[in-house]
């Protein structure tokens, strides 16, 4: 089935996606784009789990279910995040992450 594709390829792909997401998280100014980067990160982790499950532990199911729950949690988290973003927008009239700095010195 997956004999042609070595495990490392999946892992490297996931890594690239992960660090792209981190770059986006650190760089982007809009709160919503930061949320998108976080989704990227979560997805890369999912790929990792599934690849390991399929290649290293074919008889078990932990990775599969873990990914399932990650997707569920990601959905819930995205909903709450959007609610917060809307609240911030109401207060500051902008969703630039640099304006939300009231916890500073």
């Amino acid at each position: 089935m997956n004999s042609g594709i070595p495990l490392e390829f999946f892992l490297i792909l996931a890594t690239i996606m992960f660090f792209t997401g981190i770059y986006g998280f650190l760089t982007r100014r809009n709160l919503i784009t930061i949320l998108m980067s976080v989704e990227l990160i979560l997805n890369s982790v999912n790929i990792n789990f599934l690849a390991f499950n399929r290649y290293l532990f074919p008889g078990k199911m932990e990775g599969h279910f873990f990914s399932l729950f990650v997707i569920a949690v990601a959905a819930a988290e995205a909903a709450v995040a959007i609610a917060i973003i809307i609240n911030i927008y109401r207060r500051f009239n902008t969703i630039n992450v640099e304006t939300v700095d009231e916890m500073k010195y």
């Binding site: 939300v100 916890m103 500073k104 010195y105």
Partner: protein, 639 residues
């Protein structure tokens, strides 16, 4: 042995007077505070006379020898088991004699000031300071140990500072008081060093132990030797440095003429009769130690005294300010006293110099304070200090004239007045010790007579000047002390001093050596005669003499430029080369370091503040970097 416990009141009363007048003087009427101060001092004087009478009439003697009685002594500061500073009251011939001198002159000055300082602003403050001074001086003379003497020494200096600078709105008075304090304080540095050396060597501060002939001070062989002189010699020389500062010996004499900026009664009390003789008293107190353990110091002291005498006398013959003449005369006469101690021996008749020095101290206090108070009366009448603006005052000030004449005759050494007896004893002691020193002091005797009568004739005789208003005689409060002091000047010569105050407490018989007495009287008369010729009537003779000795006159008139020399040393050398670099160092390096530390702290904290920026992405960046770092550490480095 009589109980001398009441003597403690001699110290307590002036101190209480100072406190009361100082705190409440402004609330009382001026006259009340003056009378209160005077009355308190009257009590002190009475107590001093009672003490003296009791001591000298037998209570101070055992087996015919006067010894030291400690009336009161309590430990004040326990430095080690053996070394402790006490506060106490010591009675012995010289301290009892000083009690009489200080209290009498102070009492006279108190009464005199009622008239002289009447209406002055700060009248109460004046009396408070006078009480403080009296307390300090009395404490000094009855000190049981050298540490207590040092404390009261400093107190006397403070009182002098306060009184010289009494007219504090006058810049010259302020400068003079600072100069007096600084010069004497500098001398006291030597004094303290000497005290420390001495007490380190002998393990005691106490006078009874120090002057004990079998005690550690007298019998010590000196210990270490530094630059050719033993430790004892060094310590006694340093102690003498303190005494020389207070007694205005060359080269620490510069403060005394300037101290005339204070009120005249203050000059009479402090700078003629009492404070300036503190140095003489100190050497007299430590005399056994000087004689037995540091004879080279004693020799040096004799030369310092003789030189100061001559130096001051030469300057005095050119000065025009009455008080300055009297100030230099004081320096000269104290030179006599110091010199006499220097040439003295020890024990019985050999201690003639010691006895003569104290005798001269006594008589000098009487006639010098009389001279100053008389000068005060003159200044009070004509409102000027300068002899050139005075003349012919004998018509207007009869009592002042008479008493001033008596005082001048005394200082010139004319018998049977007191000055003759005391000065003659000094010259006798000098003659038997060193002929050269005798010759110097003999010449000074002549100069003394000359400048004193120059002063007398210029003020009371000579050509009458135009005065603003007719000079009137001083009020009774001022003339009564003059009369009393004149009587003392006449009569005190007949006191049997040699049976009361001697170097070892053993009374002896002193007699007049006519071989010395007659020449000293003659030179006094010669001095008076020259002054008569030059000054009794207005002549051109003084100016011609000044012209002939032009350079000498110029140098003497300018006090041999000693003040200018000191100013040069302090301003050009010490300020510029020592004080300025030190100040620069303090400002830039010491302060700079502190400022630098503060600046560094501030800058670093400012930078660290950025860690709490509130910026989400900065936090995330740190987080990510940390995680990557940890991964590196755990996987690669720790494996």
């Amino acid at each position: 042995m009589a109980d001398f416990g009441y003597t403690i009141w001699i110290l307590i009363i002036p101190f209480l007077t100072f406190v009361v007048l100082g705190l409440f003087g402004m609330k009382l009427k001026a006259k009340i505070s003056g009378l209160a101060g005077t009355a308190a001092l009257g009590v002190v004087t009475a107590l001093s006379y009672i003490t003296a009478f009791s001591y000298f009439s037998g209570n101070g003697m055992t087996n015919g020898v006067f010894h030291k009685i400690v009336a009161f002594n309590s430990v004040w500061l326990n430095l080690t088991d053996q070394l402790h500073a006490d506060i106490g009251f010591l009675l012995d011939p010289i301290s009892v004699m000083m009690l009489i001198v200080v209290s009498t002159v102070s009492f006279m000055v108190h009464i005199y000031s009622l008239g002289y300082m009447k209406g002055e602003k700060g009248f109460e403050r004046y009396y408070a300071f006078l009480s403080l001074f009296t307390f300090s001086m009395l404490g000094l003379v009855v000190a049981t140990n050298i540490f207590q003497m040092y404390i009261f020494w400093e107190l006397v200096g403070v009182s002098s500072y306060l009184l010289i600078g009494f007219y504090y709105t006058k810049a010259s008075a302020v400068a003079a008081s600072k100069k007096a304090f600084i010069v004497t304080r500098f001398a006291d540095l030597g004094f303290l060093a000497g005290i420390l050396l001495l007490s380190f060597n002998t393990r005691t501060f106490d006078f009874v132990t120090l002057t004990d002939l079998n005690g550690p001070a007298v019998t010590s062989t000196g210990g270490a030797v530094f630059m050719g002189m033993s430790v004892m010699t060094w310590s006694m020389l340093l102690i003498f440095m303190g005494g020389a500062g207070k007694s205005a010996m060359f080269p620490l004499h510069i403060w005394l003429p300037d101290a005339m900026e204070g009120p005249t009664p203050v000059s009479a009390l402090i700078h003629a009769a009492t404070m300036v003789v503190a140095g003489v008293f100190l050497v007299a107190r430590m005399f056994p130690v000087y004689y037995f353990s540091a004879p080279e110091a004693l020799h040096f002291i004799a030369w310092v005294g003789a030189f100061s005498s001559l130096f001051a006398a030469v300057i005095a013959i050119t000065q025009n300010d009455i008080k300055r003449v009297l100030a230099y005369s004081t320096i000269s006469q104290i030179g006599y006293m110091i010199f006499s101690l220097g040439v003295s021996g020890y024990g019985g008749h050999d201690g003639l110099g010691f006895m003569a020095s104290n005798f001269h101290l006594f008589t000098h206090a009487m006639f010098k304070s009389l001279l100053f108070l008389g000068a005060g009366a003159v200044i009070h009448a004509v409102h000027t200090n300068y002899m050139t603006e005075m003349g012919g005052l004998r018509r207007y000030l009869p009592i002042t004239n008479a008493t001033f004449l008596i005082a001048c005759l005394t200082i010139a050494g004319i018998p049977p007045l007191a000055g003759f007896f005391s000065k003659d004893e000094i010259l006798t002691a000098a003659f038997h010790h060193d002929k050269l020193l005798f010759a110097i002091q003999y010449a000074v005797a002549g100069l003394t007579a000359f400048y004193m009568f120059r002063l007398y004739f210029s003020v009371f005789h000579g050509k009458e000047r135009q005065y603003h208003h007719t000079p009137h005689e001083a009020p009774a409060t001022m003339t009564v002390p003059l009369i009393i002091l004149a009587a003392a000047s006449v009569l005190s010569g007949f006191l049997p001093f040699s049976s009361l105050v001697t170097s070892d407490g053993v009374p002896f018989e002193s007699h007049i050596e006519f071989g010395i007495a007659i020449p000293s009287v003659l030179i006094g008369i010669v001095g008076i005669a020259i002054a008569w010729v030059m000054y009794k009537k207005e002549t051109a003779l003084p100016d011609r003499m000044a012209e002939t000795f032009k350079l000498g006159y110029k140098w003497a008139y300018n006090k041999f430029y000693i003040d200018e020399l000191y100013l040069f040393i302090t301003k050009k050398i010490i300020f510029n080369h020592i004080a300025s670099p030190v100040a620069w160092f303090d400002r830039h390096i010491v302060d700079g370091t502190m400022n630098g530390i503060a600046w560094v702290t501030q800058t670093v904290s400012f930078k660290i503040r950025g860690l709490q920026s509130g910026q989400l992405q900065k936090y995330a960046f740190v987080f990510v970097s940390g995680v990557i770092g940890l991964v590196l550490v755990f996987i690669y480095i720790l494996n």
